[in-house]
């Protein structure tokens, strides 16, 4: 096949490219706009296939809460169309482009689905994966396959659509996705606590999640990270910031924050952000503003919330880390010094004890080359991963080595 860069405009063109690659056994690097190209292991490929020319919203039914879009559609275009109808992607996807050195909003919807990097609202509304209703993709045999559809409930056959979410382009090349969308909640209010220890913060966040007030954001930022926030009061306080968000219609949001304030009195909420300030704060969290402007290694760790503070405490005894606790402690964004392994050994040692897994989001190429970017798989998961890969991409054409070396 022709080496170099391919940007097909249709599924059929893509299928033809994959067939040619299969014939010549040419491995392909799969991407959208490439904003996450330096994330994950480097791919050794003979050609690049981008979905950036497969773009456009093909169906949007606001009254059915469904949108279908080609995978190369910029996320900004999706969000603008939704905003016109007061709707949004409720999983509040993390815009990872700025911490990778790209401009905000440069990613595609295909990239979002392929990486499944959900934002703060995941605790209430679910992950990116939970909002995917259907997918059309091309598998490693060059076949155009579809799974799911555009309706909310569908259990017809195996759920290949959601299985492809978070597969980093290694199983199939997604062409079009159907997404569940939800109405925007007009009022956003955030309770802010200053200077809580990690233990007290996680305790307060977990407590908030146990109330009936539909908390939609719970984050705790170490003081050096809080100092990078847009809100001058929060950035200038010099202390760790812990924040709890409620979104609803105005009267309800006010009622719920007042009840939360009572429930969390012992932790001393010191500030209540109104909608504008609340939205600015969570936009910072969503774009990982607290990790922009540095090049230090950045990890994304999923663990059990109640164990998070101990995990971080143990880690901090070995390495100087700055941590943002999202998902009431269930998701840790950890910035480490530029050590040779970006503290991979220490982080994974803690996870072996406490449970969970870690992904190296940002690091120099030299570090990424020597370090497992994704959580190393234990048997029998490595065998099962290989079987799933084989079922979709028997020749190993797509993104070889992206997730795991040798795959």
């Amino acid at each position: 096949m022709r080496l170099g860069f391919h940007a097909p405009q249709t599924e059929e063109e893509l299928s033809q490219i994959v067939l040619e690659a299969a014939e010549s056994r040419t491995p392909l690097e799969i991407m959208g706009k490439g904003t996450k190209r330096e994330l994950g292991h480097a791919v050794r490929a003979g050609a690049v296939v981008s979905t950036e020319n497969m773009k456009g919203i093909t169906l949007y039914e606001p009254t059915e809460l469904v949108m279908v879009a080609k995978c190369g559609t910029p996320l900004t275009e999706i969000e603008a169309a939704l905003a016109e109808n007061d709707q949004e992607l409720a999983c509040e996807p993390v815009d990872i482009a700025p911490v990778m050195g790209y401009g905000p909003g440069e990613g595609t919807v295909g990239g979002l689905v392929a990486t499944n990097i959900s934002g703060s609202r995941r605790i209430l509304k679910g992950a990116v994966r939970d909002h995917v209703l259907g997918v059309t993709a091309v598998n490693g045999r060059g076949e155009i396959i579809k799974s799911g559809g555009r309706v909310m409930k569908n259990v017809t056959g195996y759920d290949i659509a959601r299985t492809l979410v978070g597969s980093w382009g290694t199983l199939a090349v997604m062409c079009e996705v159907a997404l569940k969308v939800l109405p925007v909640q007009r009022e956003s209010r955030t309770l802010v606590f200053f200077g809580l220890t990690d233990f007290a913060a996680v305790e307060a966040l977990c407590l908030a999640m146990g109330t009936p007030y539909e908390v939609s954001g719970t984050v705790h930022l170490h003081a050096p990270l809080a100092a990078r926030l847009s809100d001058a009061d929060l950035a200038g306080n010099g202390k760790a910031v812990t924040a709890i968000r409620v979104e609803s219609f105005p009267a309800s949001a006010r009622y719920r924050t007042s009840r939360l304030r009572e429930a969390l009195l012992a932790y001393g909420p010191e500030l209540e952000l109104d909608t504008d300030r609340s939205q600015t704060f969570w936009k910072d969290v969503r774009s990982l503003k607290m990790f922009q402007g540095t090049k230090h290694p950045l990890w994304r760790v999923s663990t059990v919330p109640s164990k998070a503070a101990t995990l971080v405490g143990n880690l901090a005894r070995k390495v100087d880390v700055h941590v943002a606790y999202d998902w009431s402690g269930g998701l840790l964004w950890i910035e480490t010094p530029s050590l040779t392994d970006a503290a991979a050994v220490d982080i994974r040692r803690q996870l072996a004890e406490f449970g969970g897994h870690a992904t190296l989001i940002r690091a120099d190429a030299a570090i990424r080359k020597e370090t497992d970017v994704f959580q190393p798989l234990e048997p029998p998961h490595d065998v099962l991963a290989a079987k799933l890969k084989h079922a979709f991409d028997p020749l190993g054409l797509f993104n070889p080595g992206r997730l795991y070396r040798g795959q």
Binding site: T63, N85, G149, R150, R162, V165, L171, P212, Y255
Partner: protein
């Protein structure tokens, strides 16, 4: 006669039945092994009772290790395994085969942990759906997916079929509420997928396992999300003089930015049957009714219900009743939740499970009426309107020879219509044996091949729940069968299709004189 063919059994395996039973007893000493005829008969069908096969034996293991030992033995001896929870599958998802054992998880029904801080419950797969909420309620939490059979069905079965329910409009279905499973693979290997945290490492096997109808492994434990119980919840019951008005009202509610916790739709026949069964005050003069439920504090509920009532006013409701108390709310839901049982009191019925885009609802309801009329059956429609999941209940007489085949063909035509309208064959019941041959209506060869390749990677010998999900007769088999009935040619004095009325009047005399429970 029926339209569903089950695979021919392997006579050699059946001849080894005594040896298989002996080995099972030895390998799983704490398990209950049922080998006698009477005992096996209890398990010869699930809730799709038209299909029965006597299994080789039934095994009810006590723990994951026993499941592992049983599967390893079956793998090595080429014995097929049909996993089963409570046997409530309406699509024949747990129909046994004569050369299979039934592996029933109902004895593994313990809550292993309720972790309030992390909002997770760890349970054994044989626990009933409702028992999770009962165990979590004291700490202020509940488990969201609420299939109508939640009192009986098991969480393992819910995972096998990705079950939903009335309240899934807001909270999602099983896959959205599942954090991890412990699963025994076909060769007996015990594997944990996911965990008690929110994201799984590796490829995400959870959505693949969820809804795979027990074909990729046997789930023995699950970690599920717990959600803080709302302060309160209350429905409003709205009657309309047409299905179109009700459907338009649903769209308008959603467009307004409100996502109620449930929107249930009942047509005129369903309203009458349910009201007869549970006098809940349903609007008997309405052509369609909606139950719209919202949650929150008292003030929040009042605000939202008022807003919904305002929206409904634009669609000329003929009645509107806001629940005033917990008792009244319970009564309104009791009627809806008892619908399947209520109709069962007056007739045999086939409960279909198709999904359509909501915008196609009027067309779908007209189509369902016409199709049922063509096949000479009455039909009642009840469904989850928020997500377009239709449940036409086709009434028939199981004792009348020939009616089973006719009702199956009628149901198949309805499901085909759902696909043609942009929907799918099943929203929550699964494919099982019931809709197996219809898979080509929704999928291409390549789509199905891709699914089959996954099955073959994980279970190369097709020992786990074979004969389900995928067509075994090949492309077009059922379509051919439907053509042969030549119903379009109006047999047996049926009126020609073009003379049929748009709306079918439900034969209310059906229910007169029946004893109300």
């Amino acid at each position: 006669m029926s339209t569903v063919t089950l695979p021919d059994p392997d006579r050699a395996v059946m001849a080894r039945r005594n040896e298989v039973v002996k080995q099972l007893k030895k390998l799983a000493p704490k398990a209950v092994v049922i080998a006698d005829l009477e005992g096996r008969r209890t398990f010869e069908s699930d809730a799709l009772a038209a299909y029965r096969r006597l299994p080789l034996a039934v095994v009810l293991p006590a723990n994951t290790e026993e499941v592992s030992a049983i599967l390893r033995f079956c793998y090595e001896n080429h014995v097929k395994v049909v996993p089963r929870g409570a046997g409530t599958s309406l699509c024949g998802g747990a129909t046994p085969l004569e050369d299979s054992i039934v592996l029933c998880l109902s004895r593994m029904n313990q809550v292993l942990e309720i972790d309030a801080a992390n909002r997770v419950a760890r349970v054994e797969a044989g626990i009933t759906n409702i028992a999770i909420t009962q165990a979590a309620a004291a700490k202020g939490f509940f488990y969201a997916p609420d299939p109508s059979s939640q009192v009986a069905c098991t969480v393992g079965g819910n995972i096998a079929t990705n079950s939903g329910g009335a309240h899934c409009l807001k909270y999602g279905v099983t896959v959205n509420n599942l954090l991890g499973v412990r699963m025994v693979m076909v060769d007996g290997e015990i594997v944990d997928f996911g965990g008690t945290y929110l994201d799984a490492p590796n490829y995400d096997f959870l959505p693949l396992i969820t809804g795979s109808e027990g074909q990729l492994g046997v789930v023995t434990e699950a970690s599920v999300r717990l959600i803080a119980a709302p302060e309160g919840a209350r429905p409003v019951l709205i009657g309309f003089d047409s299905a179109n008005a009700a459907a338009s009202c649903v769209a308008a509610i959603i467009a307004s930015g409100i996502v109620p916790v449930a929107i249930e739709f009942m047509d005129r026949p369903a309203i009458h049957v349910c009201e007869h069964f549970v006098p809940a005050g349903y609007p008997l003069d309405a052509e369609a009714a909606l139950i719209v439920e919202v949650e929150g504090s008292e003030d929040e509920i009042e605000y939202l219900l008022e807003k919904i009532e305002d929206i409904a006013q634009d669609y000329n409701p003929i009645s509107m009743r806001r629940s005033q108390s917990d008792e009244e709310s319970a009564l309104i839901w009791k009627g809806r939740k008892a619908a399947f049982g209520a109709i069962g009191q007056i007739s045999d019925y086939m409960c279909m499970d198709g999904v359509i885009p909501l915008s196609a609802l009027p067309e779908a309801l007209t189509g369902v009426s016409l199709i049922c009329r063509k096949y000479r059956f009455d039909v009642a429609n009840i469904f989850h309107a928020g997500d377009g999941n239709l449940h036409p209940l086709i009434l028939y007489d199981a004792n009348d020879p020939g009616q089973l085949e006719r009702v199956e063909l009628c149901g198949a035509e309805i499901l085909k219509l759902c696909v043609e309208l942009g929907g799918c064959l099943t929203g929550e019941h699964g494919v099982g044996i019931e809709k197996r041959e219809l898979m080509y209506e929704q999928f291409t060869d390549e789509d199905i091949d891709q699914q089959v390749r996954i099955k073959e990677e994980l279970d190369p010998a097709w020992l786990l729940n074979p004969g389900k999900v995928f067509p075994i007769l090949g492309r077009g088999a059922l379509k051919q069968s439907m053509d042969l009935t030549r119903l379009d040619a109006a047999p047996d004095g049926l009126p020609p299709e073009d003379t049929l009325v748009d709306e079918v009047e439900f034969d209310v005399e059906y229910i007169e004189g029946e004893e109300r429970l």
